[in-house]
Amino acid sequence: MRHIISVLLENEPGALSRVVGLFSQRNYNIESLTVAPTDDATLSRLTVTTIGDDRVIEQITKHLNKLIDVVKVVDLTEGEHIERELMMIKLKASGAARAEIKRTADIFRGQIIDVTPSTYTVQLIGASDKLDAFISALGTANIMEVVRSGVSGIARGEKTLSP
């Protein structure tokens, strides 16, 4: 099953490599990974999506907790949560396709953020499956380039992840 694991990490050199290294060393899979500083300058927040059965996910969270630089770990998928990912996608947009792409982007609430006579670049924000759905709705023919931010997540309600 797919899990979204959120990690509060000391903002120290090498801290990120310890997390990434743990996944490769113990043969855990990483679907996506995002990391950036938080409002507290000493902390970074990292979100990793991974796939594994309960035993593997339990081991992943235990091993993450063991890392000295890791302050807090939570598996967001254990509770109600919101996930978002940002995608920018560059498309061939000429002839009949141009109008069609615009319509599809509107349906998905995407924004066209760059335009040339023959291309559109669309920005889309949503859960990963929505981004996937947009890509399949477009068909592969027009796609020139895709860049995705990876998943960020946060728990619903009053629950917070703080040190």
């Binding site: 000391e10 050199p13 090498g14 490599s17 310890r18 290294g21 060393q25 035993r55 339990e58 081991q59 235990k62 091993h63 907790n65 063991k66 000295i68 630089d69 890791v70 302050v71 040190p163």
Partner: protein, 565 residues
């Protein structure tokens, strides 16, 4: 600042080898007398010495190595300590900070190289941080589940021309690291109830009892309950080897009775042991009727391979002490009749196949006989530092360890070349103790240069070289699985170890007949101030038994070359 911080931490010995990046530190060492530095001949030996010091004393060992090749030579020793959860602080020199990343002379990314084999690592970027970093390094290495910590120090961080305010911190607080100091009382209560209700229980204990200093508690609990105790390779000495309740080591080369008892048990109390693959054999067939209580300081060890019915995260000593109290106060006591029947069954196993090997009429020595003689000559009281291979298993099986911290071997990583430097590290800390290095002609040659260090520091280690003129364990597997095709497992051109020992200024002895063994060994141990290299020729074709059948259950074993359960 580095040396002063080490002194303030209470460090007595550091093991190391100088080099460019460390010259400032070595100069500081020269100008003081509190911290004694031991100069090895290869950095790997420095880490093993520090490691063995920690295994024998419980305190973190310290190694000091230079950048580049010094650091990479230390990697095997760090990995060895990591796999066996040994507290150790390894200080590595680094090129000047402005050169980092430029492929400078003797530069290597030690933080990167060591990352998967350390508990934690620090890189110094401001000289004034050194005292706090050293303090943290020792704190992390020695608390919780212990492990090695690397401190990487660029040369300019130790420059003697710069002066800084020095204060050694009294305590450490890390918001992301707070090891547990006791177990969950509710879980311990549940576990104790289950323990008292057991009909076929086994106490299975590992290195956590040794490093967690919980041997006395284990003995007390085992006596109260009259339950059988088996130790892992790392746990030997945690329970007295000559005790009636001790059923031997378990696992791949465990005793027949220990493996049978595990397989048929209805309750396993695992203490500071991690159900590793050399213990469990085939996981799907592991102990089908047993409920499992697992006490471990590291939550990640629990339910990693075998699911625990009652997990208890906590230090072995505190948890066992709480159990002792509960058992003492409990109205319910063990089911004496069931335990009596269980012991009858175990004793039957014990007499059927327990601890036997065959000797023939020739005067050819069996390696097992040598270990039994060692046990006899040293009264089971020596520090036995082993290398890796058949001799290691024979030592584990046939030396009767009655005290903890006396059996020192590379269990997890299986590092050949560990034995001699380990024996040196122990001998250094206990100058009057009998310290034996049990090794083979393969392993000893991996760090034989340290005979020179032994001379320099007068370390009267006794080297018991079980010479079978082949890489015995490899040969055994080749015999069993590769139709005896002995691919590169024998050694032509062995040196004359007696002459070699003498060349280094030590005493060499060659023993070829069993009838000479006892006298020779007694003579060797009587030479209190000399290193004696006993080159003992043993049966080349002996195998280690029992040996579990791969992917079978605990009870599936080869008992001799032709006999299987």
């Amino acid at each position: 600042m580095v040396v002063r911080a080490l002194h303030d931490e209470g460090v007595k010995y550091i093991y190391g080898y100088p080099g460019g990046a460390l010259l400032h530190v070595y100069d500081a060492l020269f100008r003081q007398e509190d911290v004694q530095h031991i100069l090895v001949r290869h950095e790997q030996a420095a880490t093993h010495m520090a490691d063995a010091y920690a295994r024998a004393t419980g305190k973190a060992g310290v190694a000091l190595v230079t950048s580049g090749p010094g650091a990479t030579n230390a990697v095997t020793g760090i990995a060895t300590a990591y796999m066996d959860s040994i507290p150790m602080v390894v200080i590595t020199g680094q090129v000047m900070s402005h050169l980092i990343g430029e492929d400078a002379f003797q530069e290597t990314d030690m933080m990167g190289i060591s990352r998967p084999i350390v508990k934690h690592s620090f890189s110094v970027s401001r000289p004034e941080d050194i005292p706090a970093i050293i303090k943290k390094a020792f704190h992390i290495a020695q608390t919780g589940r212990p492990g090695p910590v690397v401190v990487d120090i660029p040369k300019d961080m130790t420059s003697p021309t710069e002066r800084y305010e020095y204060e050694y911190p009294k305590s450490v607080k890390l918001r992301s690291y707070s090891p547990v100091n006791r177990g969950h009382s509710g879980q311990i209560k549940k576990a104790t109830d289950l323990l008292l209700a057991a009909k076929r229980p086994v106490l299975y204990t590992g290195g956590g009892v040794i490093m967690g200093n919980a041997s006395a508690e284990l003995i007390q609990l085992a006596r109260m309950l009259n339950y059988p105790v088996t130790n892992t390779l790392m746990g030997l000495g945690g329970f007295p080897g000559t005790d009636r309740q001790f059923i031997g080591m378990l696992g791949m080369h465990g005793s027949y009775e220990a493996n049978m008892a595990m397989h048929h048990s209805d309750l396993i109390l695992a203490v500071g042991a991690r159900f590793d693959d050399r213990v469990t054999n085939g996981l799907d067939k592991f102990c089908p009727t047993a409920k499992i209580i697992h006490i471990d300081i590291d939550p990640a060890s629990i339910s990693k391979t075998v699911k625990a019915d009652i997990p208890i995260v906590g230090p072995a000593q505190a948890v066992l002490a709480e159990m002792i109290e509960l058992v003492g106060a409990s109205k319910k006591q063990p089911d004496a009749a069931a335990i009596k029947t269980w012991w009858e069954q175990i004793d039957e196993w014990r007499t059927r196949h327990g601890g036997r090997y065959r000797t023939d009429d020739s005067d050819k020595m069996k390696p097992q006989q040598v270990i039994e003689m060692l046990s006899k000559v040293t009264n089971g009281d020596a520090y036995v530092c082993s290398d890796v291979g058949q001799h290691q298993m024979f030592a584990a099986q046939y030396y009767k360890f009655n005290k903890p911290n006396r059996w020192i071997n590379s269990g997890g990583l299986g590092t050949m070349g560990f034995g001699l430097p380990a024996a040196m590290g122990v001998q250094m800390s206990f100058p009057d103790a009998d310290v034996a290095c049990v090794t083979g002609e393969g392993s000893i040659q991996m760090n034989i240069q340290e005979l020179s260090t032994c001379k320099q520091y007068d370390l009267p280690v006794k080297i018991i070289n079980l010479n079978n003129q082949s890489l015995g364990m490899v040969r055994q597997w080749q015999d069993m699985n590769y139709e005896s095709r002995h691919s590169h497992s024998y050694m032509k051109s062995l040196p004359d170890f007696v002459k070699l020992a003498e060349a280094y200024g030590h005493v060499g002895m060659k023993v070829e007949k069993y009838s000479d063994l006892e006298a020779a060994m007694r003579e060797a141990f009587a030479m209190k101030d000399r290193l004696v290299f006993m080159d003992i020729y043993v049966d080349q074709f002996e195998h280690v038994y029992p040996m579990q059948v791969p992917r079978g259950s605990m009870r599936d074993m080869w008992l001799t070359k032709t006999e299987r359960t």
